[in-house]
Symmetry: C2
Subunit: 398 residues, 2 copies
């Protein structure tokens, strides 16, 4: 492993834990493709020209076009859900443990689609294709910055629908996604009820962003907003980017996605440098502070601050079906549902899933609930998803 | 109620909830007094000259000096635990619901002492007396800023001990405190085991700050550290203070101290201004975002950014007895213990208390556990403490 690969693996392990790097099992390598729409009208009534998002597919669409599964990614994720781009990649896609031949999302049976969202966080990641504030506005020849239309989870889903149509998909055997992906998942069922047979929201946010989640997301955004280099979003032509704010925003995301068990196992109360007691000097600090900061510095390099803000707003605005109430929003849903929270999740609490399942059952839907056991926190929905692989497999056969 | 009182009550209600303003019941009014030490040597081996902290007492010390109860305050709190300074005060002290004649901390029976901590957050609050980075260093005639010695929870307790001695206290029937006050509470039992008969840690942090809590506290501090006006802590003679960073730090504290139930009841998904949909414009926002920001702006005016950082470090450094392990740290403890977490606390989790109780029992101590029911989050330890009033009363009689 090269030093750069080691660094990438370290960063990856901070954000996603040590998921089995050895378990790459897709036949051959995967590749990013690009889906384009000449023009797209947002839920908010604005037009985005030359919209582009990246996507990956695993497996083969059958003749009837009804064996597809759509995978929607989390806040800091992208469409690289499984496999490797090249053999030397430090890690496969984030859900490689459940996507592949013979795995719960069996690529010998299903045609799996994963797409980059609009305003994807990794605007500077060479393997991400997205359209957002960092993109060039064709009308001005300059980056949109904060003039890019505010977009919603509903917009993400409508773009995915256009992609699915283009690929010839007639039915989705399932839509799934973790965290922010779970919001897209339930939205799919509400917006296109005749196309979606099952939904599998993982570490779910429930059916809307409640007041608490709205404020938590604002706390994520605040470091960017107060970085002088953010400059109202106009930094694309400046030498100084709002990297520090972005780093701090990423640190809040990280701690919100973890919990005491993981923190204690990984860092304990160790100092960042042996012999340098934080009691003695302000320069001295703790291992966890240094570790999470170091990961955020690397991570910020491939992310974009304005994209972060747009993602925050999209999450804050979410209510299923964009309706006046969740009860109204879920009315169209026909899909069977399996909600999969993580037991130790302190960000998107298991109680959000319990409430969603109860509401769906109340209106007569088939809705099930299973927890991912563990003490890793929210991120268990990525790192430990294979623990509920059998339940996913069984649900797909119901 | 004057407009200013209304504003204070609003701010108070954001941070502490709507605690019964009508239930003031101490005989007469309370007053802040000042305790001074000409010189104090810190755990870290540094000297603080002319140390001053404020304190309040409720009730009367008996002739044997053994009916005292020490009340240690939380991160953003101070020694105003009960009563009012004047009849027109918008609200009484934060635990007025359990301190007073006939209440669990019965002022007809006990002599209750509450003191401002060192490096108290409210350095600019006229009712707080504290010594910290905002204080004048007698050797230079200028504020210490970040040259003030790093202090620990142990230091807070040693200063309280000196105060108790001065007041003639021989035995503490109990030491109690919420949140950061709970750390001081267990430290009292470890440091002065022959003086402390009972400890009642409320919304407790357990026996040490674990890695997760260390990082959470760092996330609180980060907005201050990245505010250009913080300027390495040297802002006392500057026109521009790091108010924005301090406000954002306070916002993180607030959301960490709350939970979904409270947020939903108080703000729901309302917009901050009717008709101004956050989908339409970046200037539009949600009621909870505006409400918590407004409270933090007011709150920051009486707080000090450097003091905030010193409190963060004191919390991060905490392990009971300043020992090599919690097992070693609790060895001296003789006091009976009653740990009182809040069921819905998402900051200092009930599991921290369970672990502490288990460790104390393991070494043969009498240790009990009772939860404050509710859905307000961490802050239930302040607002809803009266719910476990009977259990506190019974414990004091055991």
């Amino acid at each position: 492993m090269t030093p750069i690969q080691k660094v990438i693996r370290f960063i990856f392990s901070i954000f996603f834990g040590s998921i089995g790097l050895q378990c790459f099992a897709l036949d051959g390598l995967v590749q990013k493709q690009t889906f384009e729409m000449p023009s797209y009208q947002t839920i908010g009534g604005k037009t985005i020209k030359n919209l582009k998002v990246g996507f990956e597919t695993y497996g083969t669409l059958n003749a009837k076009g009804d064996n597809a599964i759509m995978v929607c990614h989390f806040f800091s994720g992208n469409s690289h859900a499984a496999g490797k781009y090249k053999d030397s990649d430090a890690a496969p896609g984030y859900w490689d443990s459940i996507i592949g031949p013979g795995k719960p999302y069996d690529t010998e049976k299903y045609f799996i689609i994963a797409s980059d969202s609009l305003v994807n966080l990794g605007a500077n990641d060479p393997s991400v294709v997205t359209t957002g504030p960092a993109s060039i506005n064709p009308d001005t020849g300059k980056p949109y910055a904060m003039s890019f239309p505010i977009v919603t989870i509903q917009d993400f889903v409508r773009v995915q629908k256009a992609l699915a149509d283009k690929l010839g998909v007639k039915k989705l055997a399932a839509v799934t996604g973790a965290s922010m992906g779970s919001l897209q998942t339930v939205e799919w069922a509400a917006m296109f009820p005749d196309m979606v047979e099952r939904i599998i929201p993982v570490i779910p946010g429930g059916l809307e962003a409640g007041a608490f989640l709205i404020e938590e997301a604002q706390i994520w955004a605040n470091p960017i907003l107060s970085d002088p280099n953010w400059n109202g979003g106009n930094y694309y032509d400046k030498a100084d980017k709002p990297l520090k704010g972005l780093q701090q925003s990423l640190q809040v995301v990280t701690i919100n996605s973890r919990n005491p068990g993981w923190s204690e196992r990984t860092f304990s109360r160790n100092w960042s440098v042996a012999g340098k007691n934080p009691l003695d000097d302000w320069q001295n600090t703790f291992a966890i502070v240094e570790g999470i900061e170091r990961a955020s510095v690397a991570r910020a390099k491939i992310a974009d601050a304005n994209h972060f803000l747009y993602l925050v707003r999209a999450n804050q605005l979410f209510r299923v079906g964009n309706a006046n109430s969740v009860e109204e929003g879920i009315k169209p849903i026909k899909a069977k549902a399996l909600f999969i929270p993580a037991s130790s999740d302190q960000l998107l609490l298991p109680e959000y899933s319990k409430r969603a399942v109860a509401l769906l059952k109340k209106q007569g839907n088939a809705a099930e609930y299973v927890e991912i056991p563990g003490d890793g926190g929210h991120i268990d929905g990525i790192t430990d998803i294979a623990k509920v692989g059998e339940q996913i497999k069984a649900f797909l056969n119901r």
